[in-house]
Amino acid sequence: MNEETKKKINQKYEHKLAHGERFWPDSLYKDAVVALGIFLLLILLATFVGVPGEPKADPSDATYVPRPEWYFLFLFKFLAIYGQIPVLGRIEWIAAVLIPGIFLIVLTLLPFIEKKPDRHYSKRVLPISVMGIFVVSVVTLTLIADHPLKWDAQYRLTSLLQVISGLIIPTAAYLLLFLFSFLLKDQRASQGMVLTAGLSGVLMVGLTASVLFLAPVPEVEEVFVANTLPDRVVAGQDLYSIHCVECHGDDGSVTVIEGVEGLDGTVTSPISGMDVLYTFTDATIANIITYGQQDLGMPPFGKAAGGELSVSEIDYIVTFMRYSWDDRFEMPEIPELFPPLAEGEVPSYEVHIAPIAKRFCISCHREGKDNNNYLMTSYDEIIHSGDSAPNLVAGDAESILLKVIQEQNILDENGEEIIGVMPPKSVLKPDVVDVWVRWVMAGMPETVDGAAALSDIVEPVER
């Protein structure tokens, strides 16, 4: 750039300044309005959307599908799409390092690459087209980031669309842009470039829209996250009921294990006693649960040691133990296991039976336990499974399940017991039994709405 042009630019700028505004107050006023707007928006987002809960990091959980922060998603998706290219796709660093690297260098050195002093957009068709396609790519790749890229029958079409929109169109558009700018002259070149950029932009947006429309993102299983202390205690109690009760008992007071294969007669210290709770820190207890005490008979439960509990779940159990048994901690107010029933009200599976089953029955009635193949982890299983199925018959007060929870065991013709009382080592409280009876007699509705339809409430209870 010669001195002449520089002078011209500076003169023009002086002229613009003379006919402009003052930084204070004209510009600052606009800045302040925008800052205030941003601040309010952030407060609204923090209040009404909040920060989604997530379970604690679990390095041993290799099943977790990793996903970067959203503003890196476009790069992540680009890598995935690039990986579909035969042969070249194997060389990851080309897409992960080389291409972004080139982009960055071009971006940094832009003022020296685009040297002409022209500033009006009509004289900058090539740079604006290149940037435009880049921005559209970033946005569209971000939008389709979670859509599966697989070549089985269900996803073949949408995967192809993704490759076309995320890789082929931008590459072809860039090639065309440079071809036009080198081969054609002024007017014709601009026309060609505008057409290329416009067309590829529209195509990319259209293809992205069809991917969004045609290939629904597979539902990711919501992981339950207990955020408040009461939630954590309740979650911990449920997990304790499922995993620990058979050896340590409802209240952690068992000293001699009974009825557990291979461990009958094993002596344990009561884990609800202050000997254990005062001497072990939370981290130690979490460690014992994670890795077990193999030589003493305590099995490992953490995923890190091949068990089925995540780091967060083990934390919940420790929290439950502390707040329920350690006399230095005060139990927070926790919600009842199920809402009390009014006279004539019918309980539902969702709200009443599921939490009761979780608390009192699932420890034995799930896969891999001795239970006559009677599983109780879902509505279907509770109604249909079991060697003596049906264990539940709608409207039948003599249903097997109702008998065994009311301390009547089931005998065969010779008077031998086939099914003992349930749960085997304790007795359900009358209000829990009442829920079961009412539920079976009313026809075993699954949902709250189903239950409400069957209800004939005399007088609602105070809640």
Partner: protein
């Protein structure tokens, strides 16, 4: 009385000069797109303030990071608000900085005499993304742990020096307490310090050359 005090201060501090140099500057006719730079600055400062509050309770160790965040969210008065603003502020800052860059590009404001302003600007974009990358690990939850695990692995795919980069980022071959410590230090000291310094230079250059005017047909 006030006049006297003012005159005394003016004499020692040179307030008038500062006022002339910083606030009372002529500018070309502005437009709303020109607020994006100061919006980035505002977000940077807001992230700084909320971030400082968060460090009061946050503990950068794998054993306590998660619980300390839970504590901030549930037990500290207005902790949820501070964290919420910091969380959403990071997202918004990336968007605003990016759009600021696009606007500067479209108006070709990086041309003579503002080339250096642009180059330092690219540095700011990278540093802003660096803030996001390091901050994401700090809550030590599943999402952040695995995002960092893939993020650092991708950085490790650089030919020849990839393995060294990976080790420097993670503080060893695997994600560990050391990684968290490192990301924490990067997130609250190293990157913000760089960011503040580069913003300083960036703003000096913006003031020195003045805001560019909106290009018209002859430009």
């Amino acid at each position: 009385m006030w006049r006297k005090l003012y005159a005394w201060l003016e004499d020692r501090l040179g307030l008038e000069e500062i006022y002339k140099a910083t606030l009372d500057r002529p500018e070309p006719k502005g437009n709303w797109w020109n607020t994006l730079g100061s919006a980035s600055l505002f977000l940077f400062l807001l992230q700084g303030v909320t971030g400082i509050f968060l460090t009061v309770y946050y503990t950068p160790s794998p054993d306590h990071a998660y619980d300390s965040i839970q504590y901030i969210m549930n037990d500290v008065a207005f902790g949820w608000l501070i964290r919420g603003i910091h969380h959403w502020g990071s997202t918004l800052m990336v968007i605003v900085v990016f759009v600021h860059m696009v606007r500067v590009f479209v108006t070709a404001s990086y041309k003579y005499p503002r080339e250096l302003t642009w180059i330092f600007g690219v540095g700011l974009l990278l540093l802003t993304l660096g803030m996001g990358f390091t901050g994401y690990l700090l809550p030590w939850n599943q999402r952040s742990y695995w995002a960092t695990e893939v993020g650092t692995r991708i950085a490790g795919s650089v030919p020849l020096i990839g393995d060294s980069i990976l080790r420097v980022l993670r503080g060893g071959p695997d994600l560990s307490a050391l990684t968290l410590q490192r990301f924490f230090s990067g997130h609250i000291w190293i990157i913000p310090a760089l960011l503040a310094a580069v913003i300083g230079v960036h703003l000096y250059l913006v003031m020195r050359h003045g805001e560019s005017h909106f290009p018209d047909k002859d430009d």
